[in-house]
Symmetry: C2
Subunit: 334 residues, 2 copies
Amino acid sequence: MDKHIRLEHGSGGVLSRELVEQIIYPALKNAAYPALKDGTDVSCSPSMCMTTDTYVVDPIFFPGGDIGKLAVFGTCNDLAVSGARPQYISLGFIIEEGFPVADLSRVLSSIAEAAGEAGVAVVTGDTKVVGAGKGGGIYINSAGIGEKCFSGDLDPAGLHIGDAVVLSGPVGAHGITVLGAREGLPVGKSLVSDCANLFPLCNELFPFGASLKFLRDATRGGVAAVLNEIVAGLSVGILIRESDIPVSPDVEAAADILGLNALEVANEGVFVAVVSGDAADSAISKLAGHPAGKEASVIGTIVADPAGKVFLETRIGGKRMIDLPRGLLLPRIC
Amino acid sequence: MDKHIRLEHGSGGVLSRELVEQIIYPALKNAAYPALKDGTDVSCSPSMCMTTDTYVVDPIFFPGGDIGKLAVFGTCNDLAVSGARPQYISLGFIIEEGFPVADLSRVLSSIAEAAGEAGVAVVTGDTKVVGAGKGGGIYINSAGIGEKCFSGDLDPAGLHIGDAVVLSGPVGAHGITVLGAREGLPVGKSLVSDCANLFPLCNELFPFGASLKFLRDATRGGVAAVLNEIVAGLSVGILIRESDIPVSPDVEAAADILGLNALEVANEGVFVAVVSGDAADSAISKLAGHPAGKEASVIGTIVADPAGKVFLETRIGGKRMIDLPRGLLLPRIC
């Protein structure tokens, strides 16, 4: 096997077979992916959920994770916040000519480890090779399907004044960590990405039934984007309190130096939930039983006014609007 | 809306929302994709099939198709040759900074048209933007799931001497067409890609039950790669007859001039099937009832000797081995 990917590894011929049969498939093979075929049979329930996400993060390895772990957990998290238990995922690789095979193997073993942790089976894949200067080392798409295990309505149209806005963990670590790793910034040396599997946390909230009203992971655009999506077009607004938002001192310091708002920075292991006010304390204590949820907090409330807007009450008692992020915070963050 | 994609369109903020809500989602929205969410609920049967494929074809527009049509039909075809009726697909876009929004819209309408023709619903998607020089205009991943409608075994281990090797249509048109379009070659000006939805043809073969023994679309590596995959490691071989292989005069002329073997060139609307010898005539007549199958032919036979190899009987009565393609025929052909 060559040490670097060549265009011929994407040709469909001898070298394609060698790459897939010697490197990729052995790393991913599992009981639900018993053979290399055009498609793989999967057992499903009548009510499933389907999602997809493509990962173009730069750099592909960063403290706390890599593009492989991200591709597995990110797709599983999209299923989890949709009320589904992740079961099967596909993987589509676009590898740039010259990419080190050792790096590919490292990404593949990270994928296998993350899939094991998430209890999801890789069942099918595809590998394309593009010429040097036409890719970014490696890009990974993963699509996923999972059985619905929450049948309630997660549409924000059902929100009421007094509902509690819950954040499952501290904000901004993924984005700040990737930025630090990419640019070699003298900040955040001790930071690690929050990249985590969120199904176990979501699964704690599903038994709340109709008291669980909204759930979404706060990836690109961060918590600010999710909060704005919740209230867009609604007759209610959101008020969050700065002092209640969990943020690590390292993230806060790095964000300050870089002039970033941690609420706008991508997370890969944090979700926003809205629960009815009377369920808030119980929800927090359920989430706190998990490593990724031990800093879960009620950060705000659904309010009457101003409708369709998100406001932050600052530590010193002022108020400012949190808008949908504008411009370019960080390209290729996930 | 800008006329060209900017990095900010992948940021998760205002411009991301604008791109998705104004350009992408309106083009793809359908009854099974009622809202933009992290994942979409889908109805499934107990026995489904899942597949994925990524498309990096260059150029993205070519006679007879484009990357969007390819992404829909290619993924549907992988389900079809796995014995499943395509139902739902996901789409993951990687768009390079500077890509014309008008080209994106053209690709999206091609996707919608192809999905309509294939009876498949786009149910979820994701869009990432990478910097100039880190992509190829647009790359598309599509994953698909579909209900199994053929429960028989399509494993070549069940082949017997005397089984017929069927080709659903003429070889090589896709690869030669894309090559001609890319390089501006003075050949194949009248050629069009064979890009087609193969489920209707496959569905004609499913009622053959145990007489249908193998099915695979002949994409990268062409018919030569599929035939070699069939017999790899088996105690039988394949003998095909050059005079029985359907090939258009244009493809044959272009392949001759370019020094290519049409059997090694990628197709996007052609499959190889193996059926029991007594079912061959009936299979051909069923396939011939469809536009993509009107040149369907029995091109060869499963033979005892030499085991594990594919031989071609030439028009003048000679024999030569057809090996798994080596080296690089055409990068980014699909």
